[in-house]
Amino acid sequence: MAAEPAERQSEQALLSVDGISSGYGSARILQNLSFAVERHEILAIVGRNGVGKTTLMKTLIGLLRLMDGTIEFKGESIGRFRPSRRAHRGIAYVPQGRGIFNRMSVTENLVLGQGLGGIGRKADFDRVYRFFPRLKERGSQKAGSMSGGEQQQLAIGRVLVGQPELILLDEPSEGIQPNIVQEIGQIIRRLTEQEDLTVIIVEQNLELIHSVADRCMVMDKGTIIAHLTPDEIADEEVAKRYLAIA
């Protein structure tokens, strides 16, 4: 009973999504969607606006109800768990628009990150401050009064506090200066190489994807229509075909 399940787990995907459907009310946005992510991987998801990328992220964290299919995380079926329970299992969600608690201070936002990964894990604020020194300087400031770039640093920094195993990142580069985008990209890269961290990132910024992702999936009409390498996504012809980007 001791060694065998752990061994099996290491061979298995960290997250496997099988035939899921979900959406809003009775409207199905995701249809029979399947994929898997390995440990330490950075998986990028691309697709035009409105194809269901955010819907997929919300379904993975549990803010939208699973209508069909299964989601397995570390070998456990979590598709019916409420979001807080998935968070305790080690999944972190950085939503599109960042989801900062505006009325709370920067430090309070960071402290809430301790709620991730379950009880008993030690929060590592210093590591987060090393990546994002501004968050220490601005500790007592109301989070809502910071700039967009600082808020994105806070959004990522506060999930790192809880040391999650899987981070769901929805369009982190949206509305942010290019130099901060690059900085965030490098930090994500470093974290997955050095620590037990896996990332699923939804992005429109193909440059960022090319510099961080190991693998890329293209979504259309609520399902996955292609798997690409980062080099393929950097190819203008390919991008034009899948993303209608001129």
Binding site: I61, R82, S84, M104, G115
Partner: protein, 298 residues
């Protein structure tokens, strides 16, 4: 009459009126002020606290402990209410208004049916003291002190504890709070229970000064809502305290010049005028001013 005793009488009445408003509002600060839940049965949760206090007292329990029982009893009643009914009506203003109003009627009529129109009162403790020719009850000042103490405790709990931060996160953005590992459904039940428990303690405190009947709660619901609404949601604690100070001020001045009835009318009028000028309450104005001053200074 001596000037000293007149001045003291005025201050005493002012403290008494503030204490009344704050104690009536103390549970609703959390339930309505922070969670934004309309609970028209707030006064009935206080009424339950008053009954528990009276029964415990007459069974030989000392009054302070009877009041703690009241807090526990009303808190549990609040959690049951939240789980069975309230939770289905979050963010539905009109439905929650009607439903909780219904609950308040059911509780009132239910208590009338079971316990009759009134029960044995609890004597007011501590006696009185004199200033000049006038005498004053000590317990009224205790009410005022307890009201300030409870408000201070709520403020400390929500500002400085881990539970407080998690509760505020839930109230600001429940979806993100869930994503950060907070079981928001449980958090709503807990905070509602906490507000109900505070209401129960307030009810128990008032039980020592008032006639205990099934209709005990009606007045409190009204004054609690007025105090919290006039205070506004930008900063609930400073809002409620400034609002109680302003409304009790109007009431006390007019009370002395005319009569108790005109005193109540003037308090309503003051609430009406404040909301006309500051539709989002006093605290909204205070927060805006704070930001303006901060900008000017740096």
């Amino acid at each position: 009459m001596e000037t000293v005793s007149i001045i003291f009488s005025f201050i005493y009445q002012y403290a008494d009126n503030i204490g009344f408003l704050l104690l009536a509002a103390v549970g609703l600060i959390i339930i309505f002020g922070m969670m934004g839940v309309i609970n028209m049965a707030h006064g009935e949760l206080m009424m339950i606290g008053a009954y528990i206090t009276a029964f415990a007292y007459h069974a030989g329990v000392p009054a302070p402990i009877a009041i703690i029982f009241a807090g526990i009893g009303s808190g549990l009643a609040g959690i049951v209410l939240e789980r069975l009914v309230i939770r289905f009506f979050y963010r539905q203003l009109l439905s929650s208004l009607v439903v909780t109003w219904g609950i308040s009627l059911v509780l009132t009529e239910g208590f009338l049916l079971i316990f009759g129109p009134s029960i044995l009162n609890v004597p007011t403790p501590f006696g009185s003291f004199g200033v000049g020719e006038l005498t004053f009850g000590i317990y009224r000042l205790v009410l005022f002190g307890v009201a300030l103490l409870l408000i201070g405790l709520i403020w400390a709990l929500f500002s400085y504890t881990r539970f407080g931060a998690r509760a505020r996160a839930t109230m600001e953005n429940p979806e993100m709070a869930e994503a950060f590992g907070i079981n928001t459904s449980r958090m709503y039940a807990l905070t509602f229970g906490l507000g109900s428990a505070l209401g129960g303690i307030a009810g128990g405190m008032f039980a020592l000064t008032a006639t205990i009947s099934p209709f005990f709660g009606v007045n409190y619901t009204l004054f609690a809502f007025i105090t919290v609404v006039v205070g506004g949601g930008a900063n609930v604690i400073t809002g409620v305290t400034t609002s109680a100070a302003a409304l009790a001020g109007a009431q006390t001045i007019v009370n002395n010049a005319w009569s108790v009835y005109v005193g109540y009318v003037s308090m309503m009028l003051a609430a009406f005028l404040i909301l006309l000028i500051l539709p989002r309450g006093i605290s909204e104005y205070l927060e805006r001013r704070k930001i303006r001053v901060a900008k000017k200074n740096g």
